[in-house]
Amino acid sequence: MADVIRAEQLTKTYGQNRGIVEVDFSVQAGEVFGFLGPNGAGKTTTIRLVLDLIRPTSGRLSVFGLDARRDSVAIRRRLGYLPGDLRLYERMTGRDLLEFFGHLRGSRGRGDALAERLDLDLDRRIKELSRGNRQKIGLVQAFMHDPDLFVLDEPTSGLDPLVQETFYELVAEATRRGGTVFLSSHVLSEVQHIADRVGLIREGRLDLVDTVDNLRARSFTHVEATFAEPPPPDGFAGIPGVAELERRGDVVRFSLEGEIDPLLKALARFHVRALDVHEADLEDIFMALYRGAGPDAS
């Protein structure tokens, strides 16, 4: 499959910010690629490189097979962008803004229909709109021209759950038409919900790229035990298949691969008030990965 976005050894360093370091990834035509990581990890930096708002320190970046910098205008013609920190012309109405951007793109496309679908009042000045409604305008301007590539930085922030559902539908429709979606999020459940593949970025480095299905297959059992009093720190060391994920007072969370019996025997040495055992979701998987990667993982 053709790479819509291809980053090779992409590095951006600036001032006091870490930026990103030697990031390699590709986003393939027709897929939804979720960029996941804590705030400040480098998601927005990567996205702004794709938009040619900032320039790489080193490495290569191509979009639609074109050079991200040299051919930026041609790339942006086929791209819809929703900034993470969306700022719009406050004195304009939504309708003015869509008309203006429509002229810059040559056509307003489906702007009005999308606004209606998102239940957006286009006649109010943007400065009078709530954060959620501004975000809707951001979505409309990113989707209205039916771009081939959607670059969406934290697209659902500020949206209420009902509108989020509409957003998921829009993404699904876009990919059915052959569109490609590159989105960032720090909300794992969201990425789990709509992405085909996930890239985990942390402290400027891309730790892992895999399909959501594969990540689920890495799945383990998640065990949370509540003790009558905090157990000794080394109380559960060396139990086969068991890793301690987190300890908060008298609550300890474990990941478990294989049989539960060795862990149960170890737990039985203490006074256990409650025990919760469930199949791990992506959140738990990432929590485990975070723990494993880097000495300063917190």
Binding site: R48, L51, L53, R76, Y81, R87, F100, H103, L104, R105
Partner: protein
């Protein structure tokens, strides 16, 4: 008004432009209405004759300090300071808003998601700035014309237009310098400060040159020198002086996209 970046930028200055025009026209009306009184005042005529030559460049516009003629009066009261001041404030404010203002507000990022090159953004906004100042110039010219007719000033419409044109070109030159500084720095208040400082320095160099021999050479570099030296209220358009102002505007407008295209857009 939303068909292009240039038109949209003009739309943005719309309301401000109306107030600016009203203020400008009102100020002109006030100055012109006093002319008949000043004109016939013999004390002021003597003052004109006794005025120290060295300070003339600050007070007069082009020629000599002269309260007895319409050209001399308008030069002293309007064109030597107030008109360039008002025009420069408008031009520098718009110029600093062009890139730096939008960048600080964060709207530049959304604008640049559209398929428009950075060069086009800078050039269209530079064009809008020039049109805004030309518009202010038209207001000034009309106000002067009507005023001159009303109080029977002995000055030609063409010479009023020539002086206005010099002010327009001076302001556009500084406006485009502000565009350039903003394109390089991305910071609005810094842009206003730097451009205003450059303007004040150039104004002082021009005004002090008759007093300080060492400034005679640098004076020729001051846009204010070329603004006034042609003595447009008395002698009409001086192409060679205006060409310098146009040249400054063109150089700044050419450099602005080049420096802007090279750097990161800040968040």
């Amino acid at each position: 008004m939303l068909r292009s970046i240039a038109l949209k930028s003009l739309r943005d200055v719309g309301k401000g432009f109306v107030w600016w025009s009203i203020g400008l026209a009102g100020f002109v009306a006030l100055i012109v209405s006093v002319y008949p009184t000043v004109h016939s005042n013999p004390a002021l005529k003597r003052l004109s004759e006794d005025y120290p030559k060295a300070l003339q460049a600050f007070i007069a516009f082009g020629g000599q300090v002269d309260y007895s003629s319409a050209a001399g009066y308008l030069g002293i009261e309007l064109f030597s300071l107030m008109v360039p001041l008002l025009f420069l404030v408008a031009a520098i404010a718009t110029g600093a808003g062009t890139i730096a203002g939008e960048e600080e507000r964060g709207t530049l990022e959304t604008l640049l998601a559209n398929p428009v090159s950075r060069t086009r953004v800078v050039l269209e906004k530079s064009l809008a700035l020039a049109l805004e100042i030309v518009g202010l110039g038209l207001v000034l010219w009309l106000a002067l014309w009507v005023g001159a007719l009303a109080v029977g000033m002995d000055i030609s419409v063409g010479h009023l237009a020539a002086a206005t044109l010099a002010a327009v070109l001076l302001a556009i030159a500084y406006g485009e310098i502000a565009v350039l500084v903003g394109a390089a720095s991305g910071r609005r208040s810094l842009t206003i400060g730097v451009t205003a400082a450059i303007a004040v320095a150039a104004y002082l160099v021009n005004g002090l040159a008759p007093l300080v021999d060492a400034l005679e050479g640098p004076q020729k570099l001051s846009p204010f020198y070329h603004y006034a030296a042609g003595d447009p209220l008395r002698r009409g358009v001086s192409l060679s002086h205006l060409a310098v102002l146009v040249g400054i505007a063109i150089v700044a407008t050419t450099l602005a996209p080049l420096v802007f295209a090279r750097r990161d857009v800040s968040t």
